[in-house]
Symmetry: C2
Subunit: 130 residues, 2 copies
Amino acid sequence: MNDIKQFLRSNALRPTKQRIIIAGYLFDGTNKHVTAESLSTELAKRKHTISLATIYNTLHDFYENGLLKKLTLSADRVYFDTNTGDHHHFYSEKEQFLIDINKKIKVNGLPKTPKNKKINKIEVIVHLDK
Amino acid sequence: MNDIKQFLRSNALRPTKQRIIIAGYLFDGTNKHVTAESLSTELAKRKHTISLATIYNTLHDFYENGLLKKLTLSADRVYFDTNTGDHHHFYSEKEQFLIDINKKIKVNGLPKTPKNKKINKIEVIVHLDK
DNA sequence: TATCAGTTTAGAATGATTCTAAAGTGTTGA
DNA sequence: TCAACACTTTAGAATCATTCTAAACTGATA
Ligand SMILES: [Mn+2]
Ligand SMILES: [Mn+2]
Ligand SMILES: [Zn+2]
Ligand SMILES: [Zn+2]
């Protein structure tokens, strides 16, 4: 709890009640993929009611500070990922299935990068079926 | 034009005025990435006014018949791709930059597929910066 | 502890997409 | 040929994730 406060402070984020609760849930040591909605539901289970606006604000604040990654897998919800390392995903939209691929993946055969652009990141999504 | 009619019929799609116009634009031989909005704009330039509802309907009809692929690159719009072959993309959300990678790409080092699932497709998105 | 910038929140707004239901059209069998 | 009907188009309303607004609240600071 004081660790969480320190953690937030060290990221230039004022440790408010809401951020402490959210950070406590998100950064408990297990990697998580959440949406604003799913996070809200989890917090509600734990009897914490934080407005959706604050949940959105906080997810973005954390994202902007590099504490979360953002995943665009489906057109109608954004996932935030507590695993900020370089990794990829198995994903099934139909089954809401999303898990990390932490093994090193190598992508071979890329053509040269378009003129005046540089590669920011390579994302591999392995779409699964039943 | 009669080719387009035949083309639509051969895909179990009734060749309506609107579908003929849209197919004529989309399948002119050059690969395209469109959103409902961008397609509407292009058609308007050509003095064709087709309701947005029909544009959405038609894109989905074409997609369902395998004439288009769907790309989820950004959380707030869906791209449809006339290149239905196996390929990948260079993409920059900020710059609305999206181009095909038609070279064969190989992804090495994937862990084994989760139990009872099978790989439907592997998607590689190369995110670019300026 | 007063002050103030930063934060939370309810509720309104936004915007892409989907839905509804009524009017229009392509197909087809007689 | 053409009536009959299933399929299609469309305007406008609805949906829904997300963002915005602006007022109340609170952590930090001296
Ligand atoms: Mn949506
Ligand atoms: Mn949106
Ligand atoms: Zn992940
Ligand atoms: Zn493409």
